[in-house]
Symmetry: C2
Subunit: 205 residues, 2 copies
DNA sequence: TTTTCAATGTGAGCGCTGTTCACTTGAGGG
DNA sequence: CCCTCAAGTGAACAGCGCTCACATTGAAAA
């Protein structure tokens, strides 16, 4: 990933820049991520980044897209290995676990001021996640209201997202480690059970 | 609020700066808020701001504190006028309505990288909000785990916070106006009812 | 009333940022 | 073998947060 000083061309700068964003964001926080910092980390001139991304927002959009795909993959894996009677619980916990493990990715995914939400690749990725949530509990997060969410679906997604956001921002569970947070979240989501009785959401469709 | 050109001393720069933050944040987004921009809006030299706030983070912390108090007041008002059998519903909807009305305030309240969460005034404000949530549904958001949240309380707070966050970031209800969002949120929160049956949270303690 | 002084403003300047632009490099196809 | 063009460089720009020496003031002290 580091640019060898001998070589003039890097070869995979676009990908390396995304890695650099993750590295810096995870270590120093999202607003400590600097184009010049990423370039220096890779060993390349700052202006080289603009050959691959129109501006910083485009870089962040690509990073968010990568994040959405990573989260979708993790949730798909959780859905596939879920043996219990509550697949939505496992998928939701995968959502939360992703946020706890990859803080910066979760944060940038939803920060509309840092990304270009109209970017086609970003939209594709968010639709993928939407479809996944539809399978698990919620439906179509970016389908522009052509498919209304049921109250239960909305509730499920909001709970999971709210828990993750509160953990990630540090407003909740400041003293708890990751396992304790997940256990706490599990019990909260289990309390959701009665609200789903008789709906299409309880065990498996 | 505007600095009269004749006067050398402004008189209430600290407060005016907070207003300027709100104005710029609400009009151009949170990261478009600039110390120099705030100073120019008021009609004062940029360096004057540092006589009242140590740095930009301190200004944002004061702004977040103001936001917490404003939100608490709005929730208190909702609790006071709530006549229905579900005071938590009204308080929760007040939470969501505040986020929809005052986007920038809601965003900055929880953005731990922009503020100093150890600031005593900020802590006081967040404890006030915590106490309010305790009365409505949840308990002690910043009491460092000396008072564990019940699963139901956690669920209620997460749902309300998750809904607000998704609306505010534009991930949900992009085509809906504020009233429609509130109606949608109400139905989602109403679906929470069965989860609270038999707990201390259903009508009024 | 006059003096003094701390609080509150100014303006220049520092190193950083994102971004642009003219230029250089070098790998691959004719 | 040369030629082209994507992919690199480095200098420059305005705007950013922030500091510091200095100016201006209202009010307390004399």
């Amino acid at each position: 990933m580091q640019h060898k000083p001998g070589r003039y061309h890097h070869g995979a700068l676009a990908e390396s820049l995304l890695d650099a964003v993750e590295e810096l964001a995870e270590r120093f926080g999202l607003e400590a991520v600097t184009l010049r910092g990423c370039a220096k980390l890779i060993g390349v001139a700052p202006s080289a980044a603009f050959k691959h991304y129109r501006d910083k927002r485009a870089l962040f959009t690509a990073f968010a897209t990568k994040a959405l795909h990573a989260m979708a993959a993790q949730m798909e894996a959780a859905a596939a290995t879920s043996a219990g009677p509550h697949p939505f619980l496992d998928v939701g916990l995968a959502y939360i676990a992703f946020g706890l493990q990859r803080r910066a990715m979760f944060q940038v995914m939803w920060r509309s001021e840092l990304i270009d939400a109209h970017d086609p690749e970003y939209r594709r990725a968010s639709l993928r996640l939407g479809a996944l949530l539809a399978g698990g509990f919620a439906d179509s997060l970016t389908d522009d209201d052509q498919h209304a969410l049921s109250p239960q679906e909305l509730l499920a997604w909001s709970s999971v997202h709210g828990l993750t956001a509160l953990y990630v921002e540090g407003a909740l569970g400041a003293g708890l480690d990751q396992a304790a947070k997940l256990a706490q979240a599990r019990s909260a989501l289990l309390a959701l059970g009665p609200s789903f009785s008789g709906s299409e959401l309880k065990p498996r469709t």
